[in-house]
């Protein structure tokens, strides 16, 4: 899922300074699962903003709404019914959801309530870690299911580098060396011979280097 982190309240307050009422829009997708932009977080943030503005003597009216997903047109309908009564939308969805709202509600300034961080997993309750960088050309079959692009700090394809010490990365002693993980996993699987296969040069054009990406499935188009 996409992991995001709530922006500091002071930053959001500065963003909404010009408005006396706003919509606080959450998303029931990834940001709900990573406890950043779901119904509950929308309630907490809206309450905090109202309190802060009351304390400043400039009361704020908030409309709380949490859409099924902000990245799908059909789920934006509940928003259409209320949007005209408010001058701006503060979205707690990931960057994709916020941009999609901006495209669909062209008269409204869209303000981000979160910083979108990475594609990751819930390692334990309250702990999320990065697993994928959406490089567009998966090599996990050859690296024991551990991604050298996302898990190696340098995204090396021929690691580990000289900065790997005791299975940890030189950038931070708490960060595992991605290539150590790959080696250990392949050893477990009895597939160390895979390390001897010379990988062809990776096609980075499928990554962000090729510009904004688009996927079309003609069979699904209406």
């Amino acid at each position: 899922m996409i992991i995001a982190e709530g922006k500091p309240i002071k930053e959001i307050l500065a963003m909404i300074e010009a408005y006396d009422k706003i919509i606080v829009a959450g998303c029931k997708g990834c940001v709900t699962v990573c406890s950043t932009g779901g119904e509950k977080e929308v309630g907490i943030l809206a309450s905090a903003l109202r309190l802060a503005r009351q304390a400043q003597g400039k009361p704020l009216e908030t409309k709380e709404i949490t859409l099924e997903r902000q990245c799908d047109t059909e789920y934006l309908e509940p928003m259409r019914e209320i949007v005209d009564a408010y001058p701006a939308i503060l979205s707690l969805a990931c960057g994709a959801g916020i941009q999609f709202l901006a495209e669909k509600f062209r008269k409204h300034p869209l303000l981000p309530g979160v910083d979108t961080q990475f594609i990751g997993v819930t390692e334990e309750q309250g702990v999320w870690t990065e697993r994928c960088q959406a490089c567009g050309n998966c090599v996990l079959d050859r690296t024991g299911g551990i991604c050298p692009v996302a898990r190696c700090s340098k995204s090396l394809f021929n690691g580990p580098c000289g900065g790997s010490k005791g299975g940890k990365c030189e950038i931070d002693s708490q960060v595992d060396c991605g290539w150590q993980l790959i080696y250990d996993r392949l050893k477990e699987l009895g597939q160390l011979d895979k390390l001897e296969i010379i990988l062809p040069v990776k096609d980075w054009s499928k990554n962000r280097d090729g510009g904004p990406r688009k996927r079309v499935r003609e069979d699904l188009k209406i």
């Binding site: 309240i9 905090a48 109202r50 309190l51 802060a52 009351q54």
Partner: protein, 160 residues
């Protein structure tokens, strides 16, 4: 100016602080009437939204009173509440209300005197801090509206 009487909300666990409040009553202990109790099945039930809402509704202070650490009827409820109170304090601080207006206490059902002591301690603390900034603004506004009305009345009288 009238003497400020704070409104303090106490979120009390049914198995400890609420029973301690009952005991305080049975022991005929005096504690400030400023404290309004909300009974919870466990402090683990308290949500950050509840903690913020009381301030929106006009409370000047609030506290969560749960079982002694390690004695929670539901094992970890009071630890969960402790973490939520810590986050809510941070939010209140960022919002300009003041994190010190919210606290977490632990006590057992047998600690009636402690319940009364906490109620006094928290009420006095909030009394010293003064009304919640929300109320201060509301009062200022009401005061300036009153003055405006007075001035308009004076102006009209002068004209007449």
């Amino acid at each position: 100016m009238e003497k400020f009487e704070p409104i303090v909300i106490a979120f009390c666990c049914h198995y400890c602080a609420y029973t301690a409040a009952d005991l305080a009553g049975t022991m005929r202990l005096q504690y400030p009437y400023n404290v309004r109790i909300i009974r919870l099945p466990c402090t683990g039930k308290v949500d950050i939204r509840h903690l913020l809402e009381v301030f929106e509704k006009g409370a000047d202070g609030a506290y969560v009173a749960g079982c002694l650490e390690g004695d929670c009827h539901f094992l970890k409820g009071n630890f969960r509440a402790k973490k939520r109170v810590a986050l809510a304090k941070q939010i209140l601080e960022d919002a300009g209300i003041g994190g010190e207006r919210l606290e977490m206490y632990n006590m057992s059902a047998a600690m009636g005197p402690r319940f009364a002591e906490v109620a006094r301690e928290m009420t006095e603390k909030i009394r010293k801090l003064g009304p919640s900034p929300i109320k201060k603004n509301a009062e200022r506004k009401a005061h300036s509206a009153e003055r405006k009305e007075e001035q308009t009345a004076e102006h009209i009288t002068q004209k007449v």
